[in-house]
Each structure stands twice: as C-alpha cells, then as structure tokens.
C-alpha cells in the first residue's frame, strides 16, 4: 500500500510538473531522537490502522455501489436495523482505539520528562528572530534568517534559491552529542513556536510564561526547522538551525564564543570612524531592521514606517537613539536596548542618519549610547 501511495504520488507529480523533480517527501521522517522516533512509529501505526479500516468500509460501499443499483434491477431490501451489528461496530472501535492509546501514552510520558538534563538553553522568541541563552555558560546570541532579500516581492522569479532557502541563519545553536539538552521557551512579544521536525520538539514560546522540552541525539549533524505559530508579518521567515557536534568540537565552539564576547567588550570603549560605523551599521540594520523598514529604508506603506528622509532619523539625535533603545510601546517597534550593545546601536543610528540620501553627516559613538541609556 505504501508502494501504491508512492506510485500514485509519483504519477501525479509527473503529470503536474514538467520541471526537474527536486527531492520530495511523502511521509513523516523518522527523526533522530527517542520521541521523534516514537512520534513516527505511532503516526505510522495509526495511519495503517486507518488505511485498513478505510479499505473495509470503502470496499463495502464500493461493492454496494457496483452491485446494488437500480439499473441492474436490484430490488431494495427492507431491513433498517440490526442490533447485534450495531453493538459490534460500537465496541470494536473502542478496542482498536485502546491499541493506539497505549503506545501514544508511553511516548508522551517520555517526552514530558525533562528531569536529569545535562545543560539548559533558554530560547526567547522575538518578532522575527530567536534569541538563545546558554544558562550558566555566559553565551547568548540572536539568530536571524540569512536568505537574502526574502521579503520583497519579485515577479521575475529570479530569486536565487539554494537547498536551504529560507532555512539558514547567521548564528546556529550548537550543542554536544549524546547530552540531554533542556530547552526553556518564552517570548518577548507574541506567541511563536519552536519546531525541529527531526527532534519531534514543537513547543509554543509564550510571553510571560516558560515552557519546557528536551532532546538528546546520538547523531551529529545540522537540523533545521521553522517557527510554527503565526506571529505576524514575517512569520514565514524565522528559521531555526541546530548543529549537533562532538564533545570536543562543542568545547572548541564554546571557546570561540567566549573569545568573541571578550573582543566585543573591548571594542565598545574605542572611538570609531564614520566608515567603520557605516559598514557595521549596515550589517546591524540588515539583520535587525530591514525586515520591517526594508533594505531600501522605505518601509511598507501603512504597516511599517519608512526611514528614508523622515524627521525621525534626520531630526533630533537624542530622540532617534531613544526610539531605538526603548522602542515604541504598542507598536511592532521593539526596544533594541536589551538586544544590541552600544557599538551596534551607535553604528546603526549613524547608518540610518546617513544612508538612503539622508546624509545628515552625524556620527554617533558607542560612548554616546552609553550616556543615553
């Protein structure tokens, strides 16, 4: 029957598409953790039970449709109930449901047991990116989508797409293999959901609440997923990438993270040149601001304001910094003070004041931001 489904799928594919056939998937993938395995097995079990019941019921119906028709001169019978039969088809389904409920309960109890974890990562969702905080490790970072220009409509269909189109991020979550990783989920704004199909983990990140889940896998590799709960305009553009590494590689990664953090702290004190600020500011803008205000700085009319030539970024510098640091309550404009360091904000403000022909010539230094906080 599975073969039949695949054949049917394949035929319909050929019929529907003359283009090259990329790799496609008909069924759930088995996964790399105990409960993505468990979910896959219970999914397969329930699906095949359903297929068997469908064959029996649809078979009987098809038999009747073919044979018990007026055009073949079939005369209607007069029965309109049968107590024994009715009791039977009420009780048998109960028994079948029992066969599904037992393994489902087992897998679920395993999933919900977050005790004895080896390490914990706090995952905070933002519109529209993820923040990861390695508890007790002093490592934390944002993870943004990297697919270029994924948010502008392009009727020419010429967007470059590799196999990880929309599924790539700038900073991956890196974890060691064979360790029970506990995840704590919360959100900074609306409800999001963190989902990696290969782990079988899908949990809502809810503002004001903390949800828990965990995973443990013995297969190093890169695992990808997406936000699974509608969270606003760019819901489709907040992927998740987890890289599972060997113990040694993980330790090396931790070392690099700590060195980078030290370097960033050192650079915060120095005085930057205009070119340095513009170059860094463009990067900060691209990952944090372009999703709403657009790369062109023109925004989306009536949804997100433009920054090109508006008094918000060409007027008072202090006001501009305040909006970036504290956000605008009641709107999608977040408070970036907690998300970006002084150098990032200084570069960003400088960039916004000089990009897109704004050309105010203003330079903002990290020390200005420190003073303004």
């Amino acid at each position: 029957m599975r073969a039949a489904i695949r054949v049917a799928g394949f035929i319909s594919l050929i019929l529907s598409s003359g283009q090259s056939l990329a790799e496609y998937q008909l069924d759930m993938r088995p996964g790399v953790t105990s409960f993505s395995q468990g979910a896959y097995e219970i999914h397969t079990l329930v699906m095949w039970i359903s297929v068997v019941i469908a064959i029996v019921v649809f078979g009987a119906m098809t038999y009747a449709i073919i044979n018990h028709r007026k055009s073949k001169g079939h005369k209607p019978a007069s029965f309109d109930d049968n107590l024994k039969l009715e009791i039977l088809w009420t009780i048998v389904p109960f028994i079948i449901l029992g066969f599904m409920a037992v393994p489902a309960t087992k897998v679920l109890l395993d999933m919900e047991d977050v005790s004895n974890s080896d390490m914990s990562i706090k995952v905070t969702a933002y519109q529209w990116k993820w923040h990861y905080d390695y508890l007790g490790e002093d490592i934390s970072f944002f993870s943004n989508i990297t697919t270029p220009d994924s948010l502008s409509v392009d009727t020419s269909c010429n967007v470059e797409m590799d196999e990880n189109y929309l599924l790539d991020v700038d900073n991956r979550v890196v974890v060691p293999v064979n360790k029970k990783i506990r995840l704590l989920f919360t959100s900074n704004d609306v409800i999001h959901a963190w989902w990696i199909p290969a782990f079988g983990v899908k949990k809502d990140a809810i503002p004001g609440f903390i949800n828990e889940s965990w995973f443990k896998t013995d297969k190093p590799g890169v695992y990808r997923g997406q936000c699974a709960e509608l969270c606003g305009t760019n819901h489709g553009f907040m992927p998740i990438v987890v890289e599972v590494k060997s113990e040694e590689d993980y330790a090396a990664w931790v070392g690099i993270q700590k060195a980078a953090a030290a370097e960033a702290a050192a650079s915060a004190g120095k005085t930057w040149t205009m070119d340095e600020l513009m170059a860094h500011g463009e990067k900060v803008y691209a990952t944090n601001c372009a999703a709403c205000h657009q790369t062109s700085g023109e925004g989306i009319p009536n949804v997100f304001p433009g920054l090109k030539g508006t008094p918000i970024v060409t007027g008072d510098i202090a006001k501009h910094i305040e909006i970036v640091v504290k956000g605008v309550p009641g709107t999608a404009m977040q408070a970036f003070g907690g998300q970006l360091n002084d150098a990032d904000i200084a570069a960003l403000v400088t960039y916004e004041r000089n990009a897109w022909e704004n050309n105010t010539g203003d330079i903002v230094q990290p020390s200005d931001i420190k003073a303004a906080r």
Partner: protein
C-alpha cells in the same frame, strides 16, 4: 388601512409583496432561506477568490504576487468568510427552507426575528470586507492574525481594523444565536400532530442539536472578542502577560467555542446525507435511533475536547492525556454514522443523480478527514502535525468535501422543490466530477508537504515543498472556477425556460412531508397541519 390589512390577512395562501420590498421586508421562511443561500453563495466566491490569491502566491517558492503582510490578511479573511459567511449561513438557509416543510409547519415560529438575524449578516460582513478594501487602497491593514485571532497578536499587536472585526464578530454571533433560538422554537412548537421527536427527519434532528450547540458557544465567542475589545481599548489585561493576564486563556476561551463550532458546521451535513442516501437507495435509513444517539454523543463530546487544538501550549501531562482520550472517543459515534450510511446503501436499489453523487463523495472524503482527525488526536504525533499543512489538509477535507459537499447535495436535492423545475442533470454531474477530481488534486498533496514539515500560514517556502504546492495550486484554480458550473445550473433552473417541470415527489424514493406539497412549494407550506401516522 385596516381594510387592507384584513384583506392581506384573508388572502394568505400565496400572496406575497412584489419587487425589492418582497426581499427587504420579508418575514417569510422561504424568502429568508433564499436570501441566506444567495448570501452564502456570494461569500463563497469572495472567500474563494482570496484562497486563489493564497494559492497563486504559493505556486512556486519566492514572493511573486503579494507581500507577506497582505498574505496574512488573505488567510485570515479567507478563513473567517468561509466559516462564518459560507458554511454557517448556508446551513441556516437550508434550515429556514426545510425545517418548517419537513415538520408540517406554515413558517418559522419567530418570523420577525428571522428577518433580523438574516439582515445582521450583510452588515457584519460589509464591515469585515470594508477593512480589506481599505487595506487594498492603502489605508491601514485588514485583520491579519489568522481566523483564530490568537492574543496577543490580535490584541496588543493587532491592526486598527481589529475593532471593526470585533464588532463584526459580535453581529455574526447575535445573528447565529437568534437563528438558533428560532429553529428550536419552531421544532418544539410547530410539529404536525403525530410527529413525535423520534419521528422527526434526521435533518431536523441534527439541526435541533446544532441549534443548542450554537446557543451554548456563540456567547463564549462573544466573551472572547469582548475581552479583546477591553484589552485593546479600556486598559484591561485579560490576555496581556505584562499586566498579569494570560495569553493561553484566550486559546481556552476561543476553542471552547471553536471545537463545538466544528460540529456546528458538520452535524447539519450529517443530517443532509441522512436524507439523501435513503432517498436514492430507495430504502429506509439504517439505524434511525442510533443516528440520533450518535449525533447527541458527538455534540456532548464536542464540549470536552477543546484543548486538543492546544497541545503545544505546554499543558500538564494529565491534561494532555485527558484531551487525547476524549478526542479519540469521537471516532466511535462518527464511525457509527458512516457504518449506518453504508448499511443504508447495502442491498438498496441505488441510482446516482447529482445529490447522491455529492453524498457519496461526502462519505468517502469526509471519512478521509475523519481518519486524519484521529491521527491528530494522538498527542506525540500531533506535535509533528500541529500548525503544518497536514492540519490544513485535514480540515479542508472535513469542511470542503464534508460540509460544502453536503450543502451542494442539499441544493441539488431540494432545488426542484424550491423552484418547481428540474436542474440540468448533465451539468450537475459535470460539476460533481470536475469538482471531485480537482478538489483532491488541491488538498491531497497538502498531507505530503505537511508531513514533510511545511508550516501553515507562510507566504514562501523551501524548494523541497515546491512540486506538491504547484499541484495544489492547479487543483485550486480548477476547483474554484468549476463552481461557476453550479451557479449556471442554479440560474438556469430558476429561470426554468429549458428545464423539465418537477413533480410533487420529485424523486422516486423521496419520503417525508416536504414531498407531499406542490413543487414549487407554496408561500406558506402547510396552512392546515398534516397528520403524521
């Protein structure tokens, strides 16, 4: 003046006002039923057009036609229009037409309320569609938070038009509640002598139970939107964690309405299938009383399964287990219904006119939606299905090839009684076959992309989902445009120039009071009550 009124009073057999006034001021159950059905049909094309925008954007990866922001408005309004503007009004329209005729009454019990409950709808949807038109003209954004409007996306982060939306939902709710009260009052008080409850046609039974569901849950929906209203405008924090509120509370309130709502949209469909199948099998419905009990148990269970929409919100294990087991139980009474329909066909003398084709299509494809529903109830597997295209496939099998197919079946079944003319059978069959093939090309591949990991409500996707999305879009356009065949057939039947006149009984195997009165049915169905043995 009084002389005129008396004259009207005496002349109540088939007199009706003419012109536009007949429709604007009508309190007649048939005219109101007709208006409900046309309203629903109009909304079907509007909601369908929005769906085609969605499918066009998803035809291939990349953004080709609409911005993500507008895409979200499309999914939101498509859902709201189809649920509240198409399926529910169509069933109310059918109830208006058929319940009085099936129980031997002259009209609905509360005709003025009937008038009001219909006329609230154009206002409600006018408001909703106006926000979309304003969005297209560049003035603000239409509701963009999905038809489930989860807080805080719809409260703190909702666009200005959310307040329009709230008012619109309030009007829909009032309309539904009044419609439901009217149906209950009619069924309780106006049955012909001898028609005991256990002699009522199944369609009447299913609507009777549905009406109770409506009265129970529409106020809950009103509560949810009122809490949103005060959160947005009057400084409360029901759903705002920053003020001590709980965003998950919104989901509990919403789904306490939302799950029974699912059955509000399918129980009348069960009723229709239970009228159509026996007629064309020329055999009595199998297991009448078990049908009634199964419908009642489904209605009862629908109140204790709401949290199965919320397994990923992080509930205690015991709660998850309770809602999983309760949800699985629904398979039992639903199975009983399907077995009963198959047994009704068994050893019948079947013919396959269009209503029967749609009914058989319903049984096949609704069952597919039922099986995926069972799969979704299993919590560990649900973590993988939740908020993916697998769910989208599931509820479209239930609502399109389920509820909508039942409505089509009903329209073809009763259209000759309503108009006095037979519809074009050949055109009806073409409509059925084109729809059935295209609807499966549309929705079946969604199972595959869902299982492969494509989230729902996204305007763009990875290459691995491309082929099946392309297929679905082709199916969508064929299915969408093939509904014009129905429109053409209905118009042709109403005009009646090239059609055969319908007999009173219409169908050879038809039984029931509605088939004892002339076709087209007189303005007041039964002026003297018939007696049921």
């Amino acid at each position: 003046m009084s002389a005129v009124i008396e004259e009207h009073h005496d002349d109540h057999h088939d007199h009706k006002p003419t012109g536009i006034g007949r429709w604007l001021f009508s309190t007649n159950h048939k005219d109101i039923g007709t208006m409900y059905l046309w309203f629903s049909f109009t909304m079907l094309f509007i909601g369908g057009a929005l769906a085609l925008v969605i499918r066009a954007e998803l035809f291939q990866p990349g953004l080709q036609f609409v911005e993500p922001e507008f895409f979200n408005q499309m999914t939101t309004l498509h859902g709201l229009i189809m649920v509240f503007g198409v399926i529910m009004p169509a069933f109310v329209g059918l109830a208006n037409w058929m319940v009085p005729m099936m129980i031997g009454a002259p009209d609905m019990a509360l005709p003025r309320m009937n008038h009001w409950s219909f006329w609230l709808l154009p206002g409600a949807f006018g408001l909703l569609i106006e926000s979309l038109i304003m969005s297209m003209m560049g003035m603000g954004s239409a509701p963009n938070f999905g038809w489930t409007f989860y807080a805080p996306l719809s409260t703190t982060y909702g666009p200005d038009s959310t307040d329009f939306f709230i008012f619109s939902v309030h009007m829909m709710g009032i309309s539904s509640i009044m419609g439901a009260i009217n149906i209950i009052a009619t069924i309780m008080n106006m049955r012909a002598p001898g028609m005991t409850y256990m002699k009522m046609p199944i369609f009447v039974w299913t609507w009777f139970i549905t009406a109770y569901l409506l009265i129970a849950v529409m106020p809950v929906l009103a509560t949810a939107v009122t809490m949103m209203l005060t959160d947005r405008n009057f400084g409360t924090s029901f759903f705002d964690a920053a003020g001590g509120g709980d965003p998950v509370l919104f989901q509990h309130v919403f789904w306490f309405f939302g799950h029974p709502e699912v059955y509000i949209m399918i129980l009348p469909a069960f009723g229709i299938i239970s009228q159509v199948v026996p007629t064309f099998a020329r055999k009595k419905i199998f297991g009448y009383s078990s049908m009634v009990y199964a419908t009642s148990s489904i209605a009862f269970l629908s109140f204790i399964v709401w949290a199965h929409h919320m397994f990923t919100t992080g509930m205690p294990v015991a709660t998850e287990l309770f809602f999983m087991y309760a949800t699985m139980l629904i398979a039992v009474p639903t199975g009983v219904k399907v077995f009963n329909w198959v047994s009704t066909m068994w050893k019948g003398s079947m013919t396959f006119e269009t209503p029967m084709l749609f009914a058989i299509g319903f049984i096949f494809m609704f069952s597919i939606g039922g099986f995926t529903g069972l799969m979704l109830s299993i919590v560990p597997a649900d973590f993988q299905y939740h908020d993916t295209y697998f769910v989208v496939a599931h509820f479209h099998y239930v609502l399109v090839t389920g509820a909508l197919y039942a409505i089509y079946s009903a329209v073809y079944f009763w259209l000759p009684k309503w108009t006095g003319n037979m519809y074009d059978e050949k055109l009806g069959k073409v409509h059925f076959w084109v729809s059935t093939i295209s609807v499966n090309v549309l929705f079946f591949p969604m199972h595959f992309v869902g299982l492969a990991g494509m989230p729902r409500r996204i305007p763009d996707y990875n290459m691995q989902f491309a082929e099946f999305n392309q297929m679905a879009t082709i199916g969508a356009f064929v299915f969408g445009f093939s509904q014009l065949i129905l429109l053409w057939n209905v118009v042709k039947t109403i005009r009646g120039r090239s059609t055969v006149k319908a007999t009173d009984q219409v169908w050879e195997g038809a039984e029931g009071l509605e088939w004892t009165i002339p076709s087209p049915a007189p303005f007041h169905s039964f002026t003297t009550p018939p007696t049921v043995k």
